[in-house]
């Protein structure tokens, strides 16, 4: 059938199973938007306040659903607004398709109105990108883009389509979606698996260290952990992959991880790194990371092996397959001493932490997180921005399911939270979405509340308002002798009024009981809600290991 480029674009999106796209129109995208109008019964289009919001929303949609997020932007400023969100998705390996319209090919390269070379700009922050210069290449380019975004280590792919291509016509034949095959384990790696299984069976103090790469292998990972009786620690991106109440799940590792988790890495005799990349927030000191333990790295991305930390064994493959093999070969670690030692350490640490955070007036983030967990029965999807609140959230929210703790880990993008929450709520209309943010981050994207109001998305934002850029201030306190350069926020905004102005609902709380009742009220609301929690600006995220340090440098008070 003879179709124009814009119709072909939508037809292929439908082939790929896309039913929702996020985007923002403009001159170069007019034909695409005309097709979106025509196909409105088949594909839902959501228009956030700007392209950054749209792209974070597509990212949140992908993270929560496991599907591919799609964002559409016009040329020039529309396209450049995608840069931070694309980098965010790239760093966290989120499958995303960004469609940018461009000026007609006849005007490309002539500094035409609203022309930028977005393919050049995004080269290092996308897994791949394309410029379509021939209408006959369009359909297959989009199919390839979906394939690439979802093969091996996932990531964002950008397709730039000049305006004349969106109107040019060609014969279109629809095709079956090609599902990427899982990465095969090589025969060499099969042998490594056997060797490592033997090593595990012989080890006395093994530990699993997993990250976001394990999110689609949570069942196999749990089976492996429980059957082998090996305790585990996780990264920020690994939050939720295993439930917080799993006996063997010690919790967060790294800069703001527990002292126990960090200590364990030094005492273990075998570290099994699964779907994680030894980032500098975890392997703070690469030369000392893991002490004398033998290290095994299991990942889908070969280029991660020996990138930051040298390992003794590596296995490349789909984690479900690799863990399946381990589940057949690995015996239970009989010695319970190691597990008992760790559980005692972590319970003691938790007790001390509770002591530190109670018997005090005011709102304590740990209590806020606990209440959120209790009232949502730990079943909500939690989305964060970036800063102290993010760390308190990962430390104290009781994650029970994968894809339920959504945060910008790799890039640490303030202003990610609201946009992402939109996408999460669209992907999961039946689940409560709780957006946990700080005042600094919230200012960066609170305009998106208007989108939540427009589309009836009952997102609850918990704003931990310390009137400062808390995380940066914390570093200034510790490393810059309290010289608070440009961190205090002296805005005089009335959150409740502004919320109402947007058509949302607002609460302000100064005590924990006020918070508790506000949160209960919020859960009953069918509209977006903000709850401003006034907290002390001197609160710090603890424990903390300074960048480049080891567990010996840990700050606990």
């Amino acid at each position: 059938m003879q179709l124009n480029g814009s119709d072909i674009l939508i037809e292929v999106l439908i082939e790929e199973g896309v039913d929702t796209v996020f985007g923002y129109p403009g001159g170069a995208a007019l034909n695409i938007y005309d097709a979106i109008y025509k196909y409105r019964d088949k594909i839902k289009h959501i228009m956030p306040v700007d392209e950054a919001g749209a792209c974070h929303a597509a990212d949140g949609y992908a993270r929560a659903s496991g599907k591919t997020g799609v964002v559409i932007a016009t040329s020039g400023p529309g396209a450049t607004n995608l840069v931070t969100p694309l980098a965010t998705a790239y760093m966290d390996s989120v499958p995303l398709i960004a469609i940018t319209a461009n000026v007609p090919t006849s005007l490309i390269g002539k500094d035409s109105f609203q022309e930028v070379y977005i393919a050049g700009i995004t080269m290092t922050i996308t897994k791949h990108n394309f410029v379509v210069r021939d209408i006959n290449d369009l359909a297959n380019t989009i199919r390839k883009a979906f394939y690439i975004a979802n093969t091996g280590r996932k990531g964002p792919v950008l397709i730039d389509i000049p305006k004349n291509i969106t109107i040019a016509e060609t014969e279109f034949v629809s095709k079956q979606k090609i599902t990427p095959k899982p990465v095969q384990i090589s025969s060499e790696d099969e042998n490594t698996i056997k060797e490592v299984a033997k090593l595990i069976n012989e080890s006395k103090k093994p530990i699993i260290y997993f990250g976001g790469g394990a999110k689609d292998s949570s069942d196999k990972l749990r089976e492996f952990m429980i059957n082998s009786n090996i305790p585990s620690v996780h990264t920020l991106m690994g939050a939720g992959v295993l439930g917080y109440n799993e006996k063997l799940n010690i919790g967060l590792l790294g800069m703001h991880g527990s002292a126990t988790a960090n200590k364990v890495m030094n005492e273990a005799d075998l570290i099994l790194a699964i779907g994680t990349r030894f980032s500098d927030r975890v392997a703070l000191n690469t030369s000392k990371f893991g002490g004398g333990a033998k290290k095994v790295h299991i990942d889908i991305d070969r280029s991660e092996i020996n990138k930051n930390v040298n390992v003794d064994y590596s296995i490349i493959g789909d984690l479900n397959d690799v863990l399946d093999r381990f589940n057949k070969l690995v015996k239970r670690v009989k010695d319970d001493e190691w597990v008992k030692y760790l559980s005692d350490l972590i319970s003691k640490e938790k007790e001390e932490d509770i002591k530190r955070n109670t018997n005090k007036d005011g709102i304590y983030p740990s209590r806020v997180m606990n209440i959120i967990g209790e009232k949502t029965k730990d079943a909500a999807i939690y989305v964060t921005d970036v800063g102290q609140h993010q760390m308190w959230a990962v430390q104290y929210i009781r994650h029970t399911k994968p894809r339920s703790f959504i945060t910008s880990g790799g890039l640490g993008t303030m202003g990610f939270g609201y946009g992402a929450s939109l996408g999460v709520q669209v992907a999961k209309p039946d689940r409560r979405v709780i957006h946990i943010t700080g005042d600094g981050s919230f200012y960066m994207n609170l305009n998106e509340v208007s989108t939540a109001v427009e589309y009836n998305l009952p997102i609850i934002s918990i704003i931990l308002n310390n009137s400062t850029l808390g995380m940066v201030r914390q570093w200034q306190t510790i490393f810059y002798e309290s010289r608070y350069s440009s961190t205090d926020i002296n805005k005089k905004m009335d959150y409740v009024k502004v919320a109402e102005g947007f058509g949302a609902k607002g609460f302000r709380c100064e005590t924990i009981s006020e918070f508790e009742s506000a949160f209960e009220e919020a859960l009953k609301c069918k509209c977006p809600v903000w709850i401003e929690c006034v907290i002390d600006k001197d609160l710090r995220v603890l424990p903390m290991i300074p960048a480049g340090g080891t567990v010996d440098d840990i700050i606990v008070d």
Binding site: H128, R143, S303, K307
Partner: protein
């Protein structure tokens, strides 16, 4: 492991626009210096062969090979074994001469298997195709002469014997 040395990499890549840019961007992002880069189409018209000379230790080279292999347009990456390959660089140089030194320049050029392409009234153009170190040696031998203009291609290479490197078309999508 920490043996920083000069390495020659051969990459088989898509013969399409933007590929060179993507590869050089990756090198600069990772902080690798490219000493020379050459690129031309192969016997398969859709594939180009890129030869990159860079310096680094084993870890860095392994990392750059893994990172470049990840690029969608890159089909395969090979580290060249110096002992088992022919590695060549081409030099074109214009040297200032007069009656008193012309003979000497010719002798040095002949000793390096250079080809004299042109002799003018005040200058001479020479071509040398050799390994980079021989070309370096030639230029060193000419250091007392005045070089007016110089152009080198950068390294290109091919493996000795009957074996051919696998272009391994891993990213050949069948759509």
């Amino acid at each position: 492991m920490n043996n920083k040395q000069r390495r020659v990499l051969v990459l088989f890549v898509d013969n399409s626009s933007g590929v060179l840019n993507r590869i050089t961007l990756l090198f600069s992002q990772k902080g690798f210096n490219i000493e020379t880069i050459t690129c031309s189409v192969t016997c398969v018209p859709s594939i180009s062969r890129m030869t990159i000379v860079t310096e680094g230790d084993d870890l860095h080279i392994t990392q750059i090979m893994k990172q470049t292999s990840k690029l969608i347009e890159v089909h395969s990456v090979h580290l060249i074994d110096h002992c088992n390959s022919i590695i060549r660089d081409l030099l074109l140089v214009k040297i200032e001469i007069d009656d008193s030194n012309k003979r000497r320049v010719c002798d040095i050029t002949n000793a390096h298997n250079g080809l004299i392409l042109d002799i003018g009234s005040r200058s001479m153009i020479v071509e040398i195709t050799a390994s980079a170190s021989i070309i370096d040696g030639y230029l060193e031998a000419l250091k007392d002469f005045n070089i007016l203009e110089l152009s080198r291609t950068g390294v290109t290479s091919i493996q000795l014997g009957d074996d051919v490197p696998d272009m391994n078309i891993i990213n050949n999508f069948e759509f």
